[in-house]
Structures are given as structure tokens and as C-alpha cells.
């Protein structure tokens, strides 16, 4: 009990030492006492306020809940509490913690029993500005984190130590197809497909017991299961935290479906590419081989050709020189007629070879455009036969020409046609036996094609040689028959010219 003056002194000292504001109001709602704290905060002195009505000192508070609460405390003995959060009008106090504004307050109002049975009221004021400030900071920090959580592109899911979901961000909602409220407090194994689903509780329990987890702090590729039951590949990174005294695990999830699709597409196109590369390599190798062969053939051909060209050329020069040197004496027709013949023959042979080569290269390079006209077969074959007369008589062969009745005109290049026929006839003549026969026939087959046949009773061509004639420079090479003068077989030219007209050329040899 506080009775003695020294106790009273202690009471007032106590009041002035408190770190909260104290106002004592009397029955008439007038000030009786303010403590130090309140004086400082209000900027008013207890002496100036004593006996003043509350509403007079703070007219801005008229009609406020604060004033009503004070009246209730005095009149009805009711206690009240008021806070800045819900009340705009509280006491006009300043705080060091809020230099520019009004102090954030928490006010307690309690009825008091004053002397002589009078009632009064106690107003206790606490400065919660720092708490408010701290709340604001916490809130802003909270907002930041919340925003991160809400707006993260990756799914974020937190679970407690039993595996029940405590947080599930919007990205996770999208990934798994569940709205947040459907998964909160449910077990996270809901999102895990079998077989891991059944194992998850075991993993958690094991971790709780041993503290060993392979999964914490690492990122792994796993499968997730959506609400509709479909599965998808995802990365999962798990971290652990201790909130209060409980453990919490947070998983960050990225959907890998797109990446997997892209990888698969890449793999497929890579495979296709490899196949194509292999094919292309094969093609290139083949082409290389062919080119090498052709190159080889070409070199051989060149070697041969240069020999073939030089031989007659040497003869021409040689014999000419001998005539120059008058080796057999002064020049007369009788003495040197033989040499001149030989020069002529060599020249012609040379010309023949050169023409062949030129023709072949022209046909091959596509320079030869057929100059097509309607050809009277009777007349054309007669012409060819006449051209061959010198050779026929030289080799002692006879030629018979048969043309079917009513043969239509042939639409072809006249010059080339003649070349073909003459070449064939030439070969048949040259490689014939003495007194041999050459036959030339023209007819229509039952498919309406015009067929020309040149036959001879000559030495024939071996089967393996016929086959060899298929290769291009092989053909040419075999056309340079050594030991035989004249134009040569000319098979390659014939084939090329035939191809030019889309005609078919067949070479056969029957040995009897």
C-alpha cells in the first residue's frame, strides 16, 4: 500500500521513469497528471495542462473514438485499446523515430478509482513507431521475396519434414496443372510418378534419421507428374532450411520438355546428316575412283595417242627428208613415187586419227548439235558405198547393199549418219579376210524402228574386248589398233553419234 509521503514520492518518481506515456484524467475529463515521457512527447507541461479539459487541449480529437473511450472509462468503467492502424485520430505526439510525422501509438484506457469515490481514467501510451517502421521494412522485404516467389519462371515448391506442401508458386501451378489451394497440405509425392512416388516417404524418413541426402544442393533430372497424369522431364534442385525449429525443403523446378524435344530433333537431324554424309562420301569415292580410272585411262590414252600421232608424223617427216636429201638420187616420179605414197598415206592416217579425236571431244562436250533433215535412205547408203570404193578395192572386199521397199525418210543429221555408216563399213572392210564380204541392210522392224545392219566376214572381236569397249577412254584406246593403219575401229564415235540421235548401237561377233 502506498501511503506515506516517501511512498508517494516513489510513485511519482516511478511514473516519470517509465518508458511509456501516462495521463491521468479526472471525473470531468480534465487533466490531472502527465508523466515525463508524455510531456516530452506532447511538448506540453503538466503544469500548463493541469485542470484543463481534454477536449479543450486537443480540440482536434472531438468526436473521436479516443474521446469516446475516455468518456466510457469515466462513465461506464470500460477499458479500451486503440491503435494507429485502425484510428487516424490519436494524440498529437512526436517521436524521435518518426521525426516528420505523428507518433504511431498504442493506447490503453482504463477506469481509475480516484479519491473520494470519484472515478477517473488512465491513458497509457506506447510508441510503436519503431515497430511500425520495422513492420514496414519487413513488409517491403516480404513483398520482395513474395514477388520473387510469385513471378519466378521456375516452379518453386516447399515442403515440411513430412513431405507436405507448404508453398506452391504460380509457375509450379502451371507446370503441374494444380491450383495452389488443391495441393497445399497434401504430400508432395502427389507430383512424383512411380516408382519414386512410393519411395519418397522413405527418402524423407531416411534423411530425418541420418541427415544424409544425395539430393540436397544438387540439381538432377527427374520426372514430374501432372494433374492429368501425364509425365514430363524436369530438373529439380533441392535446398534445405530450418524455419523456427522445423525443417523445410524447397525445390526449384524447370521444365525440360522443350529442351528434350529440341535435343531429340537435333539428334534425329544429326543422324540424318550422318547418313547423308556417308552417302555423299560413298558417291564421292566412287566419282574419285571413276575420275582416277578415267585419269589413268586419260594418261594411257594420251600416251598412246601421242604415239599414234607421232608414228605417221615421223613417217611423213622421214620420207620427206629422204626426198630432200635425194637419197635415191635426183628426184623422179619413179624413184620416189613410193615415198610420196607413203607420205600421203601417213598424212591421211594422221588426219583420220585427229578427226576421230576431235569428233569424240566435240560430241562429249556436247558441242555437236545434230543438224537434222529428212534423209532418203537409198540415196544415202548409195553415197556411203561409193565413198568406200577405194578401201574395198584395196582390201579386196565386196559390198552388197539392200534397202527394204517403201522405207520412209530418216530424220537425222546427214553428215553424222554418213559418218556412222562409213565408219562401220570401213571397219568391216579393213578387218575382213581377203575376198571377204561386207553387207549393208536397211529395214523397218516390227516396232517401227529403222534398223541398219553392217555385217562382215572379218576377223571378229573377242567377247572380252566388246565388253571393254564400254569404258570411254577404253573405247578410244581400243580404237587405236596398233599394227593396223587407217582410221581405226571408230566404235566410240559411232556410239556417241548414235547416242546423239537416241539410236541404239549393238556390236556382235559370231565365230565360226
Amino acid at each position: 500500500m502506498i501511503d506515506s509521503p516517501s511512498d508517494q514520492h516513489l510513485t511519482f518518481q516511478l511514473m516519470d521513469e517509465l518508458e511509456v506515456g501516462i495521463i491521468i484524467i479526472d471525473q470531468d475529463a480534465c487533466f490531472i497528471f502527465l508523466n515525463n515521457w508524455m510531456e516530452k512527447a506532447s511538448g506540453l507541461s503538466v503544469n500548463s495542462l493541469c485542470g484543463q479539459p481534454l477536449e479543450q487541449v486537443f480540440p482536434e480529437l472531438a468526436g473521436s473514438r479516443l474521446v469516446a473511450a475516455v468518456d466510457n472509462a469515466i462513465g461506464r468503467r470500460q477499458s479500451a485499446l486503440l491503435s494507429s492502424k485502425l484510428n487516424k485520430r490519436l494524440l498529437p505526439l512526436s517521436s524521435a523515430l518518426k521525426p516528420d510525422g505523428v507518433m504511431d501509438q498504442r493506447i490503453f484506457i482504463k477506469p481509475l478509482n480516484l479519491d473520494e469515490g470519484k472515478s477517473g481514467c488512465l491513458i497509457q501510451v506506447e510508441d510503436v513507431s519503431s515497430a511500425i517502421e520495422r513492420d514496414k521494412l519487413l513488409k517491403s522485404r516480404n513483398d520482395q521475396l513474395r514477388s520473387v516467389f510469385k513471378n519466378a519462371a521456375s516452379g518453386m515448391i516447399s515442403i515440411d519434414e513430412l513431405g507436405n506442401i507448404t508453398m506452391f508458386n504460380p509457375a509450379a501451378e502451371k507446370l503441374f496443372g494444380y491450383p495452389e489451394n488443391e495441393v497445399l497440405a497434401k504430400n508432395v509425392s502427389l507430383l512424383i510418378p512411380e516408382p519414386d512416388r512410393s519411395r519418397h516417404d522413405g527418402y524423407l524418413a531416411a534423411y530425418r534419421n541420418t541427415g544424409n541426402a544425395k539430393i540436397i544442393g544438387t540439381e538432377r533430372e527427374v520426372e514430374g507428374q501432372r494433374r492429368d497424369g501425364s509425365k514430363f522431364p524436369m530438373t529439380l534442385g533441392v535446398s534445405k532450411d530450418i524455419i523456427g525449429e522445423r525443417q523445410q525443403f524447397t525445390g526449384v523446378i524447370t521444365d525440360l520438355s522443350e529442351r528434350k524435344r529440341a535435343e531429340e530433333a537435333l539428334r534425329r537431324s544429326h543422324n540424318q546428316l550422318e547418313i547423308r554424309v556417308a552417302e555423299r562420301t560413298r558417291e564421292l569415292l566412287e566419282a574419285k575412283e571413276r575420275a582416277e580410272i578415267s585419269d589413268h585411262s586419260k594418261s594411257e590414252f594420251l600416251a598412246n595417242m601421242s604415239h599414234e600421232l607421232r608414228t605417221p608424223l615421223n613417217a611423213i617427216i622421214g620420207f620427206s627428208q629422204m626426198i630432200q636429201m635425194e637419197i635415191l638420187g635426183p628426184v623422179t616420179k619413179e624413184r620416189y613415187g613410193n615415198y610420196v605414197d607413203k607420205i600421203c598415206a601417213s598424212g591421211e592416217h594422221l588426219l583420220g586419227i585427229i578427226s576421230q579425236i576431235l569428233d569424240i571431244s566435240r560430241v562429249e562436250s556436247g558441242d555437236l548439235e545434230p543438224d537434222e533433215e529428212a534423209i532418203d535412205i537409198q540415196k544415202a547408203l548409195a553415197f556411203c558405198a561409193s565413198e568406200l570404193e577405194p578401201q574395198l578395192s584395196e582390201f579386196g572386199a565386196t559390198l552388197s547393199v539392200t534397202v527394204e521397199d517403201g522405207l520412209p525418210k530418216l530424220f537425222a543429221d546427214r553428215v553424222r549418219f554418213d559418218q556412222i555408216i562409213i565408219n562401220l563399213l570401213s571397219n568391216s572392210t579393213k578387218y575382213n579376210r581377203p575376198g571377204g564380204q561386207v553387207g549393208l541392210r536397211a529395214s523397218l522392224d516390227d516396232q517401227g524402228r529403222m534398223v541398219f545392219v553392217v555385217e562382215d566376214t572379218g576377223i571378229g572381236i573377242r567377247e572380252e574386248d566388246i565388253a571393254r569397249i564400254q569404258g570411254r577412254f577404253e573405247q578410244v584406246q581400243s580404237s587405236m589398233v596398233r599394227g593396223r593403219e587407217g582410221i581405226g575401229l571408230g566404235i566410240p564415235i559411232i556410239r556417241l553419234l548414235a547416242d546423239l540421235h537416241q539410236a541404239e548401237f549393238v556390236l556382235e561377233s559370231i565365230f565360226v
Binding site: 461506464r76 470500460q78 477499458s79 479500451a80 485499446l81 486503440l82 491503435s83 492502424k85 513492420d135 513483398d143
Partner: protein, 203 residues
Amino acid sequence: MVQLSETAHDALTELIGIAIGRAAQSLNEMIGQEVSLSVPEIEFLTPGDAVGKLGSKVASDMTLIQQGFSGPISGSSFLAFLEENSFELVKLLLGDQIPVEDIPELEQEAMKEVGNVILNAFLGSLGNELEITVASEIPEFQKSVSGRQIFQSSPDDAHIILFVHVDFDLRESKIDGYLVLIIGVSAMDTLIGFVEDYVAKMT
């Protein structure tokens, strides 16, 4: 059990109705929204019955504001809400300026204040009508309380429970609440005495 004459019972019911009306008014002033409070039920129960009653109505956890009172009648008054309802109420109190995520932190402060306003209005009105002074204390806040726990402090039949089921009808929502007075048996007798005086005065 409580022995109330029919007239006394009716009178008390009426008084409570008036008191609830006052409470609605105060709440209205506080949140600036139209509030109407209706009272579907008033009952006098033993703690055991009350547990059963509340237990059957309320399966989940509740938010509680408790305010003691004293004077010629003393006891405890409670305002109880289902947790989600108290959240709704706080949302209304704090208005739109506060984002929903911050409400849980402010819930305690706000609920204490609104509970204080409602209970003070209620007790004040009863006191006024019965011409007695019922002093009230600063309220306390409790969260996640089950129906049983409310009456744990009074496990025996030495107390009577005045159980009032209140519907808070706000413009955009309806909130269920319970206003409970726990009074000692002798205090109950005193109260009945006052009620009968009141009846006598009216007639």
C-alpha cells in the same frame, strides 16, 4: 439449471437484443459499413453442454477475444469467430489499403480492438438498461482455439454459460460469430435479480 420466469427470460432476451444492436452500431462506426447483427439463438448452458454445443457447431479452430468484466456481476465475455471469418472481418476493418498477405500479421491487433468495441458496447448496453455499472478489462487475443478450450477455465457446473449465436451481416459478406458470457452461478442469480427489477420497472 437457471431458473428464469418466462417474463424474465423474455426480458433478458430483449436486453441482449438491444445490446447486440448497440454492438452493431459501434462496429458500423468502426468499419464504416452497414452492419446488421441478428441473433438466431440465445441459450443458457452448463460448460459441458456448451462444449457440446460449440463442439457440434464448430469443427475447426477459432479466433477468440476474451474480455473480463466486473462490478455487481463479474465474469468473462468472449467473442469467437471461425478463423477464416475473423480474417474476413479484419480485411474489412483494415480496408483495401492493406494487401491480403499482410493481414495475418495485423490480425491480433485489429481483432483485439474490434472485439473490445463490440463487447464494450454489449456490456455497456446491458449495464445501462439494468442500471448497473459493468466494468470491463483490456481484452486478450487467442488463435487456433478449439470449442472445448474456451470453457477450460470453468470445467465445473459452478458457472453458467450465456451463449449467443450472432450473425454479422455485412454488405458483402456474412460472418458467423459467437458471443459468450461465462458467469458464476451466484453472479447469475444477481443478474436475474436485476432483470426482474427491470421487468418490474417496465410494467
